[in-house]
């Protein structure tokens, strides 16, 4: 997709989201959650690039969230600092766990991530004295960039920040995909033997990608925590990890923007289905099944196909 056109589209979307949420104030929370989810999903998209899927990545969002809660309660730091710390904590955890994790591929990779996430989930639920148990931890609204804001103002500020971070993260991931490392990452999917025979360490490339993906999930988790003012073990449950993968495929895993398209569609279908039917899982489940058969490249894939069907000024078929 020509980058000028994409930049314009993104700018329009950002403006639209800001405008709509200012006009309809109660939309702030679902939008914030969609942005938080979208960030986590970009993390998963990074792994899908290498043809791998983690069924435990919600653990990084969860870790970051609990980090924000613990530090927020103990030190009462500013929101910006909390977000940074939560993200770094998740990235560090990813770097450490990644050292074992990157030796595995396919279903073993998926399973090992799931196992780690369930250990975290169980620990958070059971060691209640420290973690608040299944009820989770609450923490007070922190200052934002040094200013103490009321709920309304805080949410607007957080939303603007989240929008900015979403754009930056999306752009950064797309840029990463075009780098030497990002291209080698994509090559892991098709031929690791060849990479080794080029002298490139697939494990190291994958480790860097894994750390990045953990950091992105952590960023999403930190924003989620600040939106809710509450963190619970559910943030790291396997079903949550599944939803993240769900959103990646729904939105389209070929491009970072798919993460946000998927997250917004997910959030809003959930909102309306829950309101009208109290059966949002039913609706979304059916949507996903249909998509897998009809549009496996996701919504972004559909959009891309449409755009390429038009006689565009372009050079031949590079996908």
């Amino acid at each position: 997709m020509p980058s000028m056109r994409l930049a314009v589209v993104v700018a329009v979307l950002v403006a639209a989201v800001l405008g709509v949420t200012l006009w309809v104030p109660w939309l702030k929370t679902p939008v914030l959650i969609a942005l938080a989810d979208g960030l986590a999903v970009t993390g998963v998209i990074v792994l899908i690039r290498a043809g791998q899927v983690s069924f435990g990545h919600a653990m990084y969002a969860c870790l970051a969230g609990y980090g924000v809660a613990f530090i927020g309660r103990a030190l009462h730091l500013d929101a910006l600092l909390l977000i940074a710390l939560g993200t770094v904590a998740a990235a560090l955890a990813g770097a450490v766990i990644g050292m074992f994790m990157v030796r595995y591929r396919g279903i073993f990779f998926g399973m090992l991530n799931l196992a780690f996430s369930m250990v975290l989930f169980s620990v958070l639920g059971k060691f209640g004295a420290v973690t608040g148990g299944t009820d989770g931890l609450r923490f007070d609204r922190p200052s934002f960039a040094g200013v103490h804001l009321e709920r309304e103002g805080f949410e607007i500020a957080l939303l603007a920040l989240a929008l900015g971070l979403a754009v930056i993260a999306g752009w950064a991931v797309q840029y990463y995909f075009r780098t030497v490392d990002g291209q080698a990452l994509a090559a892991i999917k098709t031929n690791e033997t060849r990479l080794e025979y080029l002298g490139i360490s697939a494990k190291r490339v994958f480790w860097r990608a894994y750390t990045l993906s953990a950091g992105l999930c952590g960023l999403g988790g930190s924003i989620f925590a600040l939106t809710q003012g509450l963190v619970t073990p559910e943030m790291g449950y396997w079903v949550r990890s599944g939803e993240v993968v769900f959103i990646a495929v729904l939105g389209g895993s070929a491009h970072a923007i798919g993460a946000f398209i998927g997250a917004f569609v997910f959030s809003f279908v959930k909102l309306y289905a829950a309101a009208l039917l109290t059966a949002w899982q039913l609706v979304l489940g059916l949507v996903l099944i249909v998509m897998v058969f009809v549009a496996p490249t996701g919504i972004f894939g559909l959009i891309e196909k449409r755009l390429r069907a038009k006689p565009a000024a372009g050079h031949g078929g590079t996908p």
Binding site: F100, I107, M111, L114, A202, I289, V292
Partner: protein
């Protein structure tokens, strides 16, 4: 920890392992034949339990002979498991056999989501607990400790019968050998004239019934609430992954290991109870990712 506590933990562990094994058996069988991890399997457990409880309540309210209680559990499992298994196989699994593995997982995940909500719409959110069968069968005393006959005798027996029955079926019957052939290589089995569609349908129906049986048999001792399907899904998966995907005998041993680890931790350090299965899973996967009893080489670099 004195002898009677140890015996209690042992019995607890074994009866819990029996239930785990039944569910895991269904999951691993389906994977072996179809090479798909059925994430909706936990829902079959939940539906089995809910339906069994419903039948139990019906027996009471229709003043039917209470002796029907125990057989009703099996009937519930076979109906619900067989039915749901068939539906899942025919409408979904059969059609995703050659798709990208990520998409396959998501389809079964979506099926899980749909079944969760349907279950909630049908049975609501209040816990349902129908324990008559346990009471009927009474208790028994061994070495000074009192157990329910249900947990000590019924559950392990069903597990053992299921295991031996399935092994006999797979090795000694023509249809069973066809199933085994498909497990090893689907294309070759088709080329040899095996009706793979029929084999897959049978596997899903049987696997589904086993999952539902786990739930049905659990229902007299457990209160069923929304979310129990998700919990059993990841637990049974821990058993299957620890044993090795597709390993039937291994699943029995892994279920026993995890069941006992859990029950002993309840008595020694309760917080670890929920943690144990996943700690075991992590430990095994880090050292031997293909599972403890697998003969397959790992996809590892």
């Amino acid at each position: 920890m004195d002898a009677s506590l140890i015996l209690l933990a042992l019995m607890d562990g074994v009866s819990y392992a029996a239930l785990l094994f039944l569910v895991a058996l269904g999951l691993t069988l389906i994977f072996g034949v179809m090479r798909i991890l059925n994430i909706a399997h936990g829902s079959l457990y939940a539906w089995g339990g809910y339906f069994a409880a419903t039948l139990g309540l019906a027996i009471t309210s229709l003043a039917l002979p209470p002796a029907l209680g125990l057989p009703a559990l099996f009937v519930a499992a076979i109906i619900i498991g067989g039915l749901l298994g068939t539906v899942l196989e025919f409408f979904l699994l059969r059609r995703i056999l050659d798709k990208d593995p990520i998409l396959q997982l998501l389809v079964t995940f979506a099926a899980f989501m749909v079944l969760e909500d349907l279950q909630r719409l049908i049975w609501g959110v209040q816990p349902i607990f129908v324990s008559d069968v346990v009471g009927q069968l009474g208790t028994l005393e061994v070495a000074g400790v009192t157990y329910t006959r249900y947990q000590l005798l019924v559950l392990p027996s069903v597990a053992v019968i299921a295991f031996l029955g399935l092994r006999w079926f797979l090795r000694k019957t023509a249809l069973g050998r066809q199933v085994t052939a498909v497990t090893h290589h689907r294309e070759i089995a088709t080329a040899m004239g095996v009706n793979t569609n029929r084999v897959m349908w049978l596997t899903m129906a049987l696997g589904g019934a086993l999952g539902a049986l786990g739930g049905a048999l659990a229902s007299p001792t457990t209160s069923f609430t929304p979310g129990i399907g998700a919990e059993m899904m990841v637990l049974s998966f821990a058993v299957v992954a620890t044993a090795g995907l597709g390993q039937i005998g291994g699943a029995a041993l892994a279920a026993l290991m995890i069941g006992l680890a859990r029950s002993f931790s309840i008595y020694l350090m309760p917080e670890l109870e929920v943690l144990m299965p996943y700690l075991i899973m992590v430990a095994v996967l880090l050292v031997r990712p293909e599972g403890l009893f697998s003969t397959v080489a790992t996809r590892r670099i």
